[in-house]
């Protein structure tokens, strides 16, 4: 039987042929099994294997020996690891706050009506989808202290030349600048979704009461978009903690180790020093940091929703 299209009536005929029409209990598991196999192989197996490797001492090319918790103990006393934790924290905090403020501002603007709105929004969204490595290389050229266009632009407004990613004290803010440039649109999209659901009436009565723009934002808009901001914070935090491409392509953690985040240190340990066991222990800790982070954020989120409901 070549390609049969079964419409409801045809299906009924089919069923009729097989005797009395009986309802098949739909079995959905066969749909899920192939994905379970693949996820087991490429996601769950690596998790388990990493956990196993983390209690072994193994540098590629040498003997593998069981080491118990040695790797974790070494990690606890590793200053470079704690430093990378600190860098990750600073990088993440800045990469959440800056896009959050700018993204909310952008959403308030794009919520209005003006010519070419759709097109401009499309342009604004482009950095988010652009290939991070390609973007990073161009930013590297723009950050160049002598020939870079950024220092030239600063000189036009009378600000002295900066060393951007070439200086230990400015490298993280410079990287955050790129991260902010890339991911502010995501916050904008999320907040725009929130603004679309905001009712008109409270604003009208607030206007009658003589509220100014800031008061309207502070007391009407902000509480109503708060849950959306929280979603933005969650997504942005998880993404920023994991950030790799931009940092690696622009500084590889340098100058020195000034921009070495956990992810970069993990990469160096496992694939520059081939210290597989130690790298795995780091991966396990990193994994739990991210899971813990997302649980904390989700709890905070649940709380904000709850208090919102109480107020209403």
């Amino acid at each position: 039987m070549a390609s049969v299209t079964i419409e409801p009536t045809a299906a009924r005929d089919l069923a009729a042929k097989g005797g009395k029409p009986q309802r098949l209990a739909p079995n959905y598991w066969p749909f899920v099994v192939p994905a379970l196999v693949v996820i087991g192989a490429v996601i769950v197996f690596p998790w388990v294997f990493t956990l196993w490797m983390s209690v072994n001492s193994w540098t590629l090319g040498q003997e593998q020996t069981f080491a118990g918790l040695d790797n974790y103990i070494r990690l606890a006393g590793d200053m470079r690891f704690w430093e990378s934790m600190w860098h990750t924290l600073v990088y993440t905090a800045l990469s959440v706050i800056a896009p959050l403020i700018l993204g909310t501002l952008a959403a308030l603007i794009f919520d209005g009506e003006f010519p070419l709105r759709g097109f401009l929004r499309g342009v604004f969204v482009m950095p988010m989808m652009a290939t991070p490595v390609a973007i990073a290389l161009v930013w590297t050229m723009m950050f160049h202290p002598q020939l870079g266009v950024l220092n030239y632009l600063l000189s036009l407004v009378g600000i002295g030349a900066q060393e951007w990613i070439y200086n230990q004290s400015t490298v993280i803010p410079a990287l955050v600048l790129v991260e902010t440039w890339q991911w502010t649109p995501l916050i904008m999209l999320i907040v725009l979704g929130g603004l679309a659901a905001v009712p008109r009436e409270p604003y009208e009565s607030a206007e009658i009461d003589g509220a100014n723009a800031w008061q309207k934002f502070r007391y009407l808009t902000l509480p109503m978009i708060a849950p959306f901001l929280m979603i933005g914070v969650i997504i942005r935090s998880i993404d920023a903690v994991k950030s790799f491409d931009i940092i690696y392509a622009m500084t590889q953690g340098g100058p020195g180790t000034a921009s070495e985040t956990i992810n970069i240190y993990l990469y160096n340990t496992a694939f520059s020093y081939y210290d597989i066991g130690y790298g795995s222990a780091m991966a396990v800790v990193f994994f739990f940091v991210i899971i813990a982070l997302s649980f904390v954020l989700m709890m905070v989120r649940a709380r904000t929703n709850w208090s919102d409901m109480e107020e209403r």
Partner: protein, 277 residues
């Protein structure tokens, strides 16, 4: 009446200019990227910087393809992204359907955790596995590991989508004696087309852009474009023109896709899509 009208028009115009200022960093960046890619070294090293050069260096683009094997890397990228996306759709769309209908919260949870886990943590064990299986040097390791990115994103978006499609039609078909597979294939799947398009586009973009898997797993012949453009930086005397041209070539397909599929991308990303990987 008339003053009110003009007032509104001024408002809209004002907002337009504010929006323009807001997106100016994006415009400036891409304009400068194009400018860099079209200038000879002399112009790229000039101070003050030149935006539009007298002599346009189209040769930068030719150089990228001539000197760096870029055609091969472009093809590699297409194979890796294409295979990883198609496999993810074949596996992930039915899975999203099954999970949504089963209301399998735990399975959904695994998918979500998978999407939050850093790509690097999959890389150590899979790297060892590929080495042991003697697959390094082929494109297979990259195709397989890109599934780490594409499968969860497809499943995640499809769970969300199938949760919104009506169950009544499916139930009617199954009362009429259609098998589970027929219900899925002939009733659920056609309705889900917009969701599948969103999943496809995001899987393509995130796979195409992926860099971390490539720097570990790719050899000279199996590089994808992001790795190739990064290697131009580290192994050659850096000349800005060809480098910017290469960067533009790498990211142009994605930017074009973004422009044409803006609606789908916005829908997918606001459905709670984390980058993954």
């Amino acid at each position: 009446m008339i003053p009110k009208m003009t007032h509104r028009m001024w408002n809209r115009l004002g907002l337009f200019f504010v929006a323009l200022v807001m997106i100016s960093p994006v415009i400036l960046f891409f304009v400068w990227m194009i400018s860099l890619s079209l200038k000879y070294e002399i112009d790229n090293g000039a101070y003050p910087p030149i935006l539009i050069p007298e002599n346009i260096a189209w040769s930068n683009y030719a150089k990228v393809f001539e000197e760096n094997n870029f055609l091969l890397y472009f093809w590699n990228s297409i194979l890796v992204t294409g295979a990883a996306t198609i496999l993810a759709l074949v596996i992930g769309v039915p899975a999203g359907y099954g999970i949504a209908r089963l209301k399998a919260e735990k399975a959904a949870m695994v998918i979500m955790i998978a999407r939050m886990t850093p790509g690097l943590s999959f890389l150590i064990p899979l790297f060892l596995l590929f080495q042991w299986m003697n697959l390094l040097g082929t494109l297979w390791p990259q195709i397989i590991i890109h599934l780490v990115v594409t499968v969860p994103i497809v499943v995640w978006i499809m769970i969300g989508y199938f949760e919104t499609t009506p169950k009544e039609l499916e139930e009617a078909a199954s009362i009429d004696g259609a098998t589970s597979w027929q219900v899925f294939r002939l009733v659920a799947l056609p309705i889900a087309k917009p969701g599948i398009v969103v999943a496809f586009i995001l899987a393509v973009i995130f796979s195409w852009n992926n860099f971390v898997f490539g720097i570990v797993l790719a050899s000279r012949e199996t590089r994808t474009l992001p790795v190739a453009v990064y290697n131009m930086l580290s192994f050659e005397q850096v000349s800005w023109g060809p480098l910017a041209a290469a960067a533009l070539i790498v990211t142009l397909p994605v930017l074009v896709l973004t422009m044409f599929a803006q609606k789908q991308i916005v829908a997918g990303l606001t459905a709670g899509a984390v980058k993954g990987g």
